[in-house]
Amino acid sequence: MPEFTLRLRRYDPDAGEAPYWDEHTIELESHQSVLEGILQARARFDGSIGIRCSCRAAICGSCGVRINGQPALACHTHLDQAMTGARDGVIEVEPMGNMPVIKDLIVDMDAVHWAKIRRVTPWLINKEPIPEREYIVPHEAMVDVTQSMACIQCGACVSDCLSMEVDPLFIGPAALAKAYRFVGDPRDAQHFSRLKDLAEDPHGIYDCTHCFKCIEACPKGVAPMSQIMRLRRVAGRDHQIDDGNNGGRHERSFTNLVRDYGILWEAEVLPRSYGGDSRLAKLSPRAGGELLESLPVIAKALLRGKVTPKGVLKPHRLPKDDLKQIKRIYETIEGREAGERFELNLYISGYDEEQEGAGGATPDAASDAAQGGDGGQQGAEAGQPGQSPEGSPSR
């Protein structure tokens, strides 16, 4: 039977001693899991190794750890798979990040993860009157929340969240994904107040930096960041929430600047995010204060020629005909009624079969592209998006 060496991070806060690494060599088949390896090490060599686990089948969410620096479920990671990420031939297992260690590989989920989950009112608030029998909910609405419902509360996303790393008060990916589960549920009566609350909280939906860490971390394809973007979409566009964190205004000014100029007029984003979507935004007290505070940076940028006065006052813009096209695209799409909106979620729809008769493209054009036909683009190679339908899409 093959041998694997595990390097476990050991720490007992009560002992008053520093954390240390502990190595054990175990014998298991390579398709067996890192969790089984840890349990064998505990059974054979050291009964004091701390690890939490229950189902051993990737559904209870108890055994979240970091394997070779990456968050994972120990029961869902094969030993041979873990070996591919082992830097020096040894599989390194650490406790998850962003949460205090109780002992060895066990972190305090109550203090962080569950506290944050409770923060978002994680239950349905009924619409009144409550129907006599069952609620009738459109199929699409329930499909829409299935992705956030797939969460098993393992904390992998919390462990890796880069915003939380510097702002421990950030509500975080798992809890916000949970919040979307109710904001997306037509039976819930409190969509607006939930969103208003999460938008106004300085550590709420607008504290996420788009770093994609949680998408990468999640073993269940929940894509918490995508759920946060959905919360922002509903808050900013559908409810027009004007929050104190500039979140909604930032989104609207950015989007409208691109409509008006085709490319982003950066110098206007900041004042408009603070002061509202108008050229006069910079005169508003909020924007004025911020501009004043940024004056040293602005002055330096001007001094170094990084930014020219012309660039600040006069935007780049697309040629007239192209701007017209952009405006028309905006009118068509932004003009759609709520029910006509088209939002594709690959988690639900999946990928087309590899060789489908392409919808927009003629068969000729498709084969041309595949052969790198003259004048056209070369065919997409492996690794281009949408080219690898195997495995479950995670967004």
């Binding site: 930096t209 994609f212 170094r304 799409i333 927009g360 995670s394």
Partner: protein, 302 residues
């Protein structure tokens, strides 16, 4: 090699030295850039946050324009964020024929169509996968000997790995290090290489944003880096333009120069710092140009 070149917005706005240095470096790599000057902003994830179909359609328009460039082998960008935001839209467009047809219907009114399967590569990917490190090495005129460079990727070009086609065959999350080495420099291992610069929330939570930038810069200082290099102009804004404020936030002096990828390339390929716009940075790249006295003279008041 002829490419449909998407410079992005920031390289023509607050980081003009990026667009400028790319222009200078391209001929030295035999790259013919056909600028997509009719294309719109990629949305940087913000337009998608507002309206997903709108972002997908705007980018499909960009892709359609790129596909019209005669003889171009692929589309190239010089911004991690453009790469990430555009790849996200392309993933949806390529995954679903019905959706693609729906988006193309909107584009159709202007006679444009996006055909599935565009190749869109950041300069970083193009360097390693199309030009090749051997070729790059052979073109180096001034090896970056003894220059200790910390890679700073930017989130959008490394995550999610499956969407971006990062795997064993294409370890795109190691390319910056490989390029630094090919140019003769030394790669500095520090904690921040794959972390977030904080820029996306600079208008929403300035303190947290600057603390992120300050932390990574501080880690690079602690690892004795001479400079950072990034393929993302938005990261550059938070790491360079905002560095004085980040210093204040973390309470320590950082003075860490941050170079755009084409600037680092340009130095090694023999261009002068001034041609590469390095005098425009907020943090003067003195530690970068100390390695060769002839170069020190080239920088304004360096």
């Amino acid at each position: 090699m002829k490419v449909a070149y998407w410079p992005g917005c920031v390289s023509r706005g607050f980081t003009p030295e990026l667009h400028g240095s790319m222009d200078k470096v391209a001929p030295l790599l035999d790259l013919e850039l056909v600028e997509l000057d009719r294309a719109s902003c990629c949305g940087a994830g913000v337009i998608a946050e507002h309206n997903q179909e709108l972002a997908d359609t705007l980018n499909a328009r960009t892709f359609a324009l790129a596909q019209q460039v005669e003889g171009a082998e692929l589309m190239m960008n010089i911004c991690s964020t453009c790469q990430g935001a555009q790849t996200e839209c392309q993933e949806r467009l390529d995954a679903n024929a019905e959706y693609r047809a729906h988006v193309n219907e909107t584009l159709g009114e202007d006679g444009l169509t996006y055909e599935k399967g565009l190749t869109n590569k950041n300069l970083l990917w193009l360097l390693v996968e199309e030009i090749g490190l051997e070729e790059l090495r052979s073109r180096v005129k001034r090896p970056l000997t003894d220059l200790r460079v910390g890679p700073f990727y930017g989130c959008y070009i490394v995550r999610p790995t499956d969407r971006l086609g990062i795997d064993e065959a294409k370890p795109r999350d190691t390319y910056l290090g490989q390029v630094i080495e090919a140019l003769g420099g030394t790669v500095v291992d520090y904690a921040g290489a794959y972390k977030c610069c904080g820029f996306p929330i600079i208008t929403m939570n300035k303190e947290v944003s600057l603390r992120q930038a300050g932390r990574h810069l501080g880690d690079a200082v602690a690892a004795a880096a001479d400079c950072l290099v990034t393929p993302c102009p938005l990261c550059h804004l938070n790491l360079d333009l905002q560095q004085p404020l980040a210093e204040r936030m973390v309470g320590s002096e950082l003075r860490m120069p941050v170079l755009h990828l084409p600037q680092l390339l340009g130095l090694a390929l023999g261009l002068e710092p001034q041609e590469l716009g390095m005098q425009r940075h907020v943090v003067k790249p003195t530690s970068v140009i100390d390695w060769s006295t002839s170069v020190v003279g080239g920088v304004n008041g360096g």
